[in-house]
Symmetry: C2
Subunit: 596 residues, 2 copies
């Protein structure tokens, strides 16, 4: 029987975190250790390296996710290890897992097989406490808000217009909709409320988009928690707790360093949702990684329509990131599902279904290359049931588009299973670098990166890639000063393939209110199902011409975006009938079992 | 202006935690560092030292607390530093602070002035994540319970007989009484619920009473969360999540090591409430400290009627601890309050009020020496407003009882302000050791501790102490196999001075149910106001002959006791009109201000 993820991770001998830090030029004083294999990076490191040139940023994204699983995190880790094997100074940037899915269905979320970040038990459970710090800061604000109501409501908050919920890092459906403040006068003011899971907290999104502690404190102060009876936004700063919230996040704002099974340094830092938030790890971590490594591989949430779009229009805009290459992860299994095959029949070869499903991949390739302006390479994450004919069909179709493609086998082989992909990534990065100065070129122009990658000669020639024109570099889909509706429509039509956008009466009111309160100039964070390019989860493949319906638009003023909500977005998951928690256990020696 | 606690702490240069560990014979591999100044002790250390003889355990307790403040934690730390200055190998054991009071009224809870444990900001905020781990384990059990109801309630749980609430480490009165499970079928089963603050969680009490990880897992499984419609207890093990709860507590079970301003090693580990739980730090930490140090100074919650009683009858019983000396902390200010003086007039000299208030101290001395069987020394924690006549009166009255007494000035002078107290403690410990073999004598009989303490000759002669007979060593107030009511009545009459005990109808029913379900043989944890020896907070001084009313008796089967509830016990505090959170802030360098 194949070993499980946790068995593979536990059989591995980790290197002391100081050794991992040394690979990035970090000394012992640069690390704040959390046990022997985890560390936070001391804030003085940024002051030392901030003037250094940036390494190459590689964005890993995917086709529209399906229940079949795509393995995006696994590919991200495998690619990082492969780049390390090629001799490149590499760092990986990932999100931290939430406890909710760990105890729910999913099990762990730190890669899989021989492409994992370790120590996996720690990363999946508590890690360095960042999620708990976010929860505490979030709930302090909630307590201060209800306390303000209880002590006379001097700000004139409308108790029916409170938008700030509470949070817990747990799948707990019974907390989705609740009534608080019961039990008479001493119990506060009764009102409807609810809990979000911590990754859905705006504090998490804010942490991940802040550039430093000072910026974080300011952003936290801007969070809108309610409206007054006169309709004026009430912010965390009005409740005077943003300083204490920032104090609670003093350590959470420092990037966490761990290692992959291949010994590649990995920054695992922050974990915002990919729907109501932007779904990528903390900017502070990626920014630091770019100063310390020549290649930084990071992952965006869900498919390229969601995570990558937000990485372009929200994250890269605020952080000044310029990814040089995007890797689009696809699987034969998932594409067959997009082509109409049933979930339980995915192990059967089905070339017609695959051929139909490839339309989904094609749309994501178009988005990455033509809408976002980034050269793409497709990583086919191989599963045992894939047949040679299926792989040939898929590879051939991608190659016909002029897009480089590599089959990877990262679960079973780790970095060795992604060497071909890594060579293509390096070749594309080199080609980007050799372009005339522009957004995509080396922003420092110091030529530091121009050195032939080891083993590049063995890689596939990319001379014939992009025959219709090499992508010109990162392009925003909209400008910030456009009206909210214009921004939404550009994303909906250009990225999703929608024919039109409809707005509920509530959305119309909200948009007017946001623009009245000068919140109209923020980027739009689209909250849309991840299971379809449209807002209807059942529309697989490549739907076109549909109407995207916006139900509401709400501010995340601390994070610095407005959220356009389409469909039903669940911000507090439930546990399944037999939750993963029932099989998770620990023995007397402290060995944990049952994490996947 | 006198510097604040946080200013004093921040001006101090901390020693690396490895240096602090070395004072206890711990090497680098014995420590799991959390940053540079905090560490958890690796579990292998216990295996190495478990056969070593125990050091002397010194229990710090106090008079009945008042709003004037007694400074028990400060005296504990100052005494530890003084013992270190006398050349004794000393460790301190304290509870971890809860975030709730930090953001509420109290500010920090890591000592004060020049008697603090540091880094104080870390200890007050998140520390090593133990409280968050307890919260997560607690809430996992709550989520599993509601999930069980949602998926068909196979165990037949009576939704009206669910006793397991949720928890958050925040003062949040609006969560005291709530309704969960609203919003239709997808939101679970509607029912009344509420939140406790984390120190009130039974998981916290269980963690602090467990002897190791395996024992913890078993105890967690025994937690009673509800009753079936047939009245049968439903336990965490029935929901099959005790293993996952233990996995969440894998690191929380390891003792935390920090330092005092005087460089004394301090184990700050666990923080259960002192009313509905037992109110002392984790047994695992104290037990380890006793193996590593010659003197271990620990603190019990509230007055000697509560914390010390529970330390004797619950903690020492399960852990096998044998404290050799108890320090009773008293202040002139607080005793004047007990003597009828008003809070706002405490800075005025008032010998008659003080003389009356000393009755409170006398009762605590009697409890410690005659009921618990421990030699006591009274530490008068000096305040600036104390007059010489007041101090003389108080000292004289205590000396007349034959009880050693020392004036301490630990806030302003640190360990140097408690040298006299330390010398008396050492002298008493020596005298205990020279007693004929018995409970109080060196349990190993290896004479390891018999060595004259440095500077002992300078200390006051204790030849005339305890003229009516030296306390004979730790004595339990009741035996476990007595009926619940007999146990309650022994504590109420012997310790509190009650004339009788009354039981509500609910309490009568609960006691019958507990004894029916074989939960009658557990120790009784008294939940009583800390502000009076009686169950009526307004009865200061030394009330006698009152009737103690028991409202209910509930099981904490995981912790291993039943809780007898008297009066109104608040398990979720609220924030004041101007919470401390409003003045807590952080600057761009990460310096935190506004913690006390």
């Amino acid at each position: 029987m194949a070993p499980t993820d946790i068995e593979i991770a536990q059989a591995h001998t980790l290197r002391p975190i100081a050794e991992i830090g040394a690979k990035l030029g970090l000394g012992p004083d640069d690390l704040e250790p959390y046990g022997k294999y985890k560390a936070k990076i001391a804030p003085h490191v940024w002051e030392r390296v901030r003037g250094a040139p940036d390494g190459h940023l590689i964005l890993v994204t995917a086709i529209t996710p399906t229940p079949a699983g795509e393995g995006k995190t696994t590919v991200t880790i495998g690619l990082g290890d492969a780049l390390s094997q090629l001799g490149e100074r590499t760092a990986i940037c990932l999100r931290e897992p939430s406890l909710g899915p760990v105890f729910g269905v999913k099990g762990g979320a730190a890669g899989g097989g021989y492409s994992q970040v370790v120590p996996m038990e720690d990363i999946n459970l508590h890690f360095t406490g960042d999620f708990h710090a976010v929860s505490a800061a979030h709930n302090l604000l909630a307590a201060a808000l209800d306390n303000h109501l209880h002590h006379g409501n001097a700000l004139g908050i409308d108790p029916r217009a409170i938008t700030w919920k509470r949070t817990v890092d747990m799948n707990d459906r019974a907390l989705r909709q609740i009534v608080v403040g019961l039990g008479g006068k001493s119990g506060g003011v009764p009102r409807e409320d609810g809990f979000l899971i911590t990754p859905a907290s705006e504090v998490m999104a804010t942490l991940c988009l802040a550039s430093d502690l000072e910026d974080l404190r300011e952003r936290l102060g801007r969070i809108v928690v309610a409206y007054t009876t006169a309709g004026k936004p009430v912010r965390a700063a009005d409740l005077k707790v943003h300083g204490a919230m920032a104090a609670l996040l003093r350590d959470a704002v420092k990037p966490n360093l761990v290692q992959t099974l291949g010994g590649t340094p990995a920054f695992v830092h922050g974990g915002p949702f990919g729907n109501i938030a932007h779904g990528t790890n903390a900017i502070i971590a990626t920014r630091l990684a770019l100063k310390l490594a020549d290649y930084v591989v990071t992952e965006a949430g869900f498919g390229a329509d969601l995570g990558a779009e937000k990485f372009v229009n929200i994250v890269s805009r605020v952080a000044g990131f310029r990814p040089v290459v995007a890797v689009i992860v696809a699987t034969v299994r998932a594409l067959k599902l997009h082509g109409g095959k049933k979930l339980e029949e995915l192990t059967q070869e089905d070339l017609p279904a695959l051929a139909r499903g490839i339309a989904n991949l094609e749309k994501h390739i178009e988005n990455v290359t033509r809408v976002y302006g980034l050269p793409a390479v497709v990583a086919i994450n191989r599963f045992q049931s894939d047949t040679g004919a299926e792989l040939d069909l898929l590879e051939g179709r991608v190659r016909n588009l002029g897009v480089p493609v590599a089959v990877v086998d990262v679960w079973a082989r780790g970095g060795a299973g992604a060497l071909n992909l890594a060579r293509q990534v390096v070749a594309l990065a080199q080609r980007v670098q050799s372009l005339p100065a522009g957004k995509a070129a080396d922003p420092k122009g110091d030529g530091r990166k121009v050195r032939p990658p080891e083993g590049a000669a063995e890689g596939p020639g990319l001379e014939d890639a992009y025959p219709d024109g090499f992508p010109g570099g990162l392009r925003f889909t909209y400008e910030l000063d456009e009206p909210i509706k214009a921004k939404i429509e550009k994303v909906a039509k250009q990225v999703y393939g929608a024919g039109s956008v409809a707005y509920s009466a509530q959305a119309e009111r909200s948009i007017r209110r946001l623009e009245r309160h000068e919140l109209g100039n923020l980027p739009v964070c689209m909250a849309k199902t991840q299971y379809s390019l449209s807002d209807q989860p059942e529309l697989l493949g490549r739907p076109e011409g549909f109407t995207l319906t916006v139900r509401d638009v709400v501010p995340s003023a601390g994070a610095g975006f407005v959220v356009a909500i389409t469909g039903e977005i669940l911000t507090m998951p439930g546990l399944p009938r037999e939750p993963a928690a029932e099989r998770i256990d620990i023995d007397r020696t402290g060995r944990i079992t049952g994490l996947f």
